[in-house]
């Protein structure tokens, strides 16, 4: 290497950043790549559903009734003669939307809360985290059921309620990240250089706290989707005419003896999505080298 002749930094060889390193490691993890691919396909399908669905959403053929998979109806039809593939595609839109939107709600609340508590520290931190502790001890599942009972099955409320449960973990992770990073010598070095707090947060804290946040976001989505399925299954979540995978599974379970495909395919769609998210999350955890930063 002609090391001494370099006169401009652009001549130097580009190093391997940690992000690139992580991406290379993720790419070697076949399950994670599979998960990512499935997820992308599902999301694209969900977005395009209104245009690519084989049948109309409400299109019934009562005379046809429930039929097993055939050339006309790839995944069969339900007891009203509705195309199951179409139902699953529309249900997926709702299930995925709940997963992503409620997680986004959790992310915004959790990160803000945790970052403020961790950065300000002292009494503010103590009060804020004590509140999180108290909320943690609440039986949230039961509360969500209660909310659904009291206020009726409202989608917006569902997003908010689920988001409100899931932000707690996010806040804890963010806080512990910020606290650990604040004590790192490179942050002290940045302070002693005279950098402003805003610059320190932007250049030194955020990029380093991102890894665990990405991992836990990926792992929060499946638990949110499960929550939605749980509520819909009980008849407390999404309600007709809208549908979701949880609701389809609940219908399928009622008639599974006669028409097992009505349970099988919505179930497979849900399981495949959960697998993909969990594989991707585990893969990201390994690739970004995130230790259990849960508390």
């Amino acid at each position: 290497m002609n090391t001494s002749t370099i006169t401009d930094i652009s001549e130097a060889e580009q190093g391997t950043s940690l992000w690139r390193d992580a991406w290379l490691r993720l790419r070697r993890n076949r399950l994670a790549v599979f998960g990512l691919a499935v997820l992308l396909v599902f999301v694209i399908i969900a977005i395009l559903t209104p245009w690519i669905a084989p049948y109309g959403y409400a299109q019934q053929q009562l005379a046809v009734g429930a039929t097993p998979p055939s050339a006309a109806h790839w995944l069969g039809t339900d007891i009203f003669g509705r195309d199951l593939l179409t139902q699953i595609m529309y249900g997926g839109r709702v299930s995925l939307a709940v997963g992503f939107i409620a997680t986004a709600v959790a992310l915004v609340i959790g990160i803000t809360w945790g970052a403020v508590a961790g950065y300000v520290g002292g009494k503010v931190d103590a009060v804020m985290m004590r509140l999180v502790d108290i909320l943690y001890a609440l039986p949230f599942m039961i509360f969500i059921v209660l909310l659904m009972v009291v206020f009726g099955r409202n989608m917006l409320l569902l997003f908010l309620a689920i988001g409100a449960v899931e932000w707690l973990t996010m806040a804890r992770i963010m806080r512990s990240q910020v606290q650990t990073l604040r004590q790192q010598e490179f942050v002290e070095a940045a302070i002693s250089l005279g950098l402003s707090p805003a610059t320190i947060i932007r250049r030194h804290l955020v990029p380093n706290a991102l890894g665990p946040i990405i991992v836990y976001t990926t792992l929060t989505i499946p638990s949110v989707m499960l929550l939605e399925a749980f509520l819909s299954f009980l008849g407390l979540g999404v309600q007709p005419p809208q549908t979701s995978w949880g609701l389809l599974i609940s219908y399928g379970a009622e008639t599974m003896e006669e028409y097992p495909w009505l349970l099988l395919y919505p179930g497979l769609a849900l399981i495949l999505t959960l697998f993909s998210l969990n594989f991707l999350g585990d893969g990201l955890r390994d690739a970004l080298d995130v230790r259990s930063a849960k508390d």
Binding site: A137, M141, I142, F143, F230, G252
Partner: protein, 309 residues
């Protein structure tokens, strides 16, 4: 340690108070009174009923009166089952749910912890991959799918086990317990694997090996305790999850437990029942969280002595 326990017990009191208060007012501001669905009720009867449920009092007085009842352990009368108190309904449903929960917990801890420890002993070999793949399935197949699948396979196709009821036929408790416990077995397997791996890489394990202890003594004597602390700390949340999971499982298997009552009460808008059951379940969950925290802290001598005797 006693200070720690005292501190945690004190901390639980506001939690319970929040639960009771929030639940009470949520239920009270819910649209639709208890009798709004029915035909016009004779005013005198309505007044009598309202007096019975204290609906004629101002909201805050209702609240304080309810707190007073709670202190005496009285959850009040049911809206929908005239003449029956919420206490009676819970007393009828809870033993069933408790039994189901206990079996599920045994399934979860028994299978989960053993699988996790076995996997951690030889990481990245078949001994690790097989149980962890099964655990992944356990996590990704929620009980609302696991139940129907088990029914279909073992109840309908193989006809090995009954698919509904509780205590009516031999073996009818097996499928519900597995359905409810499977998810938590999977979580516990992953937690105990991670915990054991962490501990097995510690320097003091090397010390134990350098003493010449056989491997099983290293694992049982030195590694297990530290490795299981995360699992013990998880038992509280797991218990909460089992209780809410029982809603689904009891519905699937038609088990007359508290979970099914709760869901039915939700559909019937039986507000006193919802209120009472929520308070009851929340108390249980808070108590179990407390116990699992205390147990986990007690297992760690540093924490134990930090709070002094």
């Amino acid at each position: 340690m006693w200070r720690f326990i005292g501190f945690r017990v004190l901390q639980s009191i506001p939690v319970l108070l929040v639960v009771i208060t929030v639940t009470f007012f949520l239920v009270r501001i819910a649209p639709g009174g208890p009798f709004s669905g029915e035909k016009a009720v004779i005013p005198e009867v309505k007044a009598a009923l309202e007096a019975q449920y204290r609906l004629n009092l101002p909201m805050f007085e209702q609240y304080t009166a309810y707190l007073g009842d709670l202190a005496r352990g009285d959850l009040g009368p049911s809206f929908k089952y005239p003449g029956r108190s919420v206490n009676e309904l819970i007393a009828a449903g809870f033993p069933v749910t408790a039994e189901l929960g206990l079996y599920a917990l045994l399934v979860a801890i028994g299978i989960g912890a053993i699988a996790g420890v076995i996997a951690a002993l030889r990481p990245n070999t078949a001994q690790d991959y097989v149980p962890m793949s099964v655990a992944m399935i356990g996590i990704c197949v929620p009980s609302l799918l696991m139940g129907p699948i088990l029914i279909l396979v073992f109840g309908i196709y193989l006809e090995w086990l009954p698919v509904s009821g509780w205590g009516d036929m031999p073996g009818d408790k097996i499928l519900p317990a597995i359905t409810l416990g499977s998810t938590y077995a999977a979580y516990i397997a992953r937690l105990s694997r991670a915990g054991m791996l962490e501990v097995m890489s510690q320097d003091y394990i090397r010390t134990a090996r350098a003493k010449g202890l056989p491997e099983w003594r290293v694992v049982t004597g030195h590694a297990l305790r530290g490795g299981m602390i995360p699992v013990v700390a998880f038992l509280g949340p797991a218990f909460a999850g089992l209780l809410s999971g029982s809603f689904v499982v009891e519905t699937i298997f038609q088990i007359p437990g508290l979970g099914r009552f709760y869901v039915q009460a939700a559909f019937n808008r039986d507000y006193t029942m919802i209120l009472g059951a929520t308070v009851f379940l929340a108390t249980l969950i808070v108590v179990f969280n407390l116990l699992s925290d205390i147990l986990a802290a007690w297992m760690n001598p540093r924490l134990r002595s930090q709070f002094g005797d």
